[in-house]
Symmetry: C2
Subunit: 262 residues, 2 copies
């Protein structure tokens, strides 16, 4: 593309996801039940998403590892080859509170990576270096990619702080660095995009960059032009403020692509 900001694709077991299409359209799955999860997955397939994010912090049986793996296996069958990003979003970074300890979460990540039913896992950097290393080791052992993430639902930190979060993800050996921050004014989206572009030039990992809320929603459409490889849209249920329906997202990206002549 002509943007000057190289967009590194997110790789799934060695190959660029969706044949290298950028940005990937990702639908969050936020059901509490196995049946709800499979219904959301079917909606993601119908909406022709490229990938789903299973937000397991919403899943009622998160404390039962066998049930999680069984649901993950059923999910695979419904998705028919569409890759799965597995995420327990911590309550501290906007997720649902879960009834299990962080040690149990780490065991769950290990088991789900071993099960073969997910392709990427997302883990917050705020959990600390030791925990991130445990997830990094487990994911690497089983050929699963690691997204190291930073979320801020209150505000958009200044550009140097955003850049530092992207760098921190690289230092933690992430395959994908994710920064998702709340826009409180229209200008905040510009800081996020500038930090993303800088990271796309300087760092190794693929990037996911999100400016949340109404003032940030443009980032979901044009972020790819600044280096973001994946954008979240709604197939059935939203997981963060400002997410657009997948079809609108696709229309907007197509219009932006035409504007960029790519």
């Amino acid at each position: 593309m002509s943007s000057g900001a190289p967009v590194k694709p997110i790789r799934i077991r060695g190959a660029p996801a969706a044949g290298g299409r950028l940005p990937l359209l990702c639908a969050p799955l936020v059901a509490a039940s196995r049946d709800g999860l499979l219904a959301e997955a079917a909606a993601a397939v119908a909406a022709q998403c490229d990938i789903v994010e299973w937000r397991v912090d919403f899943f009622g049986e998160i404390g039962n590892t066998a049930a999680v793996v069984e649901a993950g296996t059923a999910l695979r069958a419904v998705l028919g080859g569409m890759p799965v990003l597995f995420t327990r979003r911590s309550a501290a970074e906007g997720g649902e509170p879960v009834p299990i300890s962080e040690a149990a979460v780490l065991e769950l990540y290990d088991e789900i990576c071993a099960s073969g039913c997910v392709d990427l896992v997302d883990y917050e950097m705020s959990n600390g270096a030791a925990s991130v290393k445990a997830v990094r080791d487990a994911s690497r052992r089983h050929g699963v990619g690691l997204v190291c993430s930073y979320h801020n639902f209150d505000a958009t930190p200044p550009l140097p702080a955003l850049a530092a979060e992207f760098r921190r993800a690289q230092a933690m050996e992430a395959d994908v660095a994710k920064v998702s921050v709340m826009a409180r004014a229209q200008g905040d989206v510009l800081a996020l995009l500038a930090a993303t572009q800088q990271a796309s030039r300087e760092l190794e990992p693929a990037l996911i960059a999100v400016s949340m809320g109404p003032h940030g929603a443009l980032s979901r459409v044009i972020g790819f032009a600044f280096g973001s490889a994946l954008t979240f849209g709604v197939a059935s249920g939203a997981s963060a403020p400002g997410q657009l329906p997948i079809a609108e997202l696709r229309t907007g990206i197509e219009a932006a692509r035409k504007a960029l002549g790519s």
Copy 2:
């Protein structure tokens, strides 16, 4: 709208143009002949533009004031109420060389304002304070709006320099401040949008902000979210690098508007 950046409308003889629709879609008219000009105007009407910019530096008979006024009168008839921005773009800022002196250009501006066949005139600030004042006086005397403009076809100056150009337009008593600069990297569009948002908060004039070239083309679609009241698109002939067809521009703006929830 929800952007937090107030977009001041461009006013035509006291009332917001196009009933206050933002951004205005403006087609440049770049014909050398009277017939060509009227054909381009008809294309602008067919494309449902909101306003046209008559780039008189392309007009073969620019040296014959009576012919310019006659063509302008014929233009009015074809446009059926669509307002006209009249512009002699100087060669120093990317326009066509013209065979008349700057003093003759000032006389032409005076005559065309008096004729009643244009609603706004654009004049480059680089022509100097005395000349801008002459155009300001003539335009004000006849109820015509003044766009004070700055163009840079080489590069995007740093944000403080962009902000200074917007402020200079206000100091010259512009009704509309226009800054149009070449993007040499994708990040340049962010600097232009940030300067525009700042100006929309701090200054009085309506704004036109353009990031030119492929790396800047997104500004033509999303600039309104940062305070730009008008965007240029192609109905028949382009006047600057990166201009999109009016229909694509409209689709992109609509998609951006949905993303912004406005």
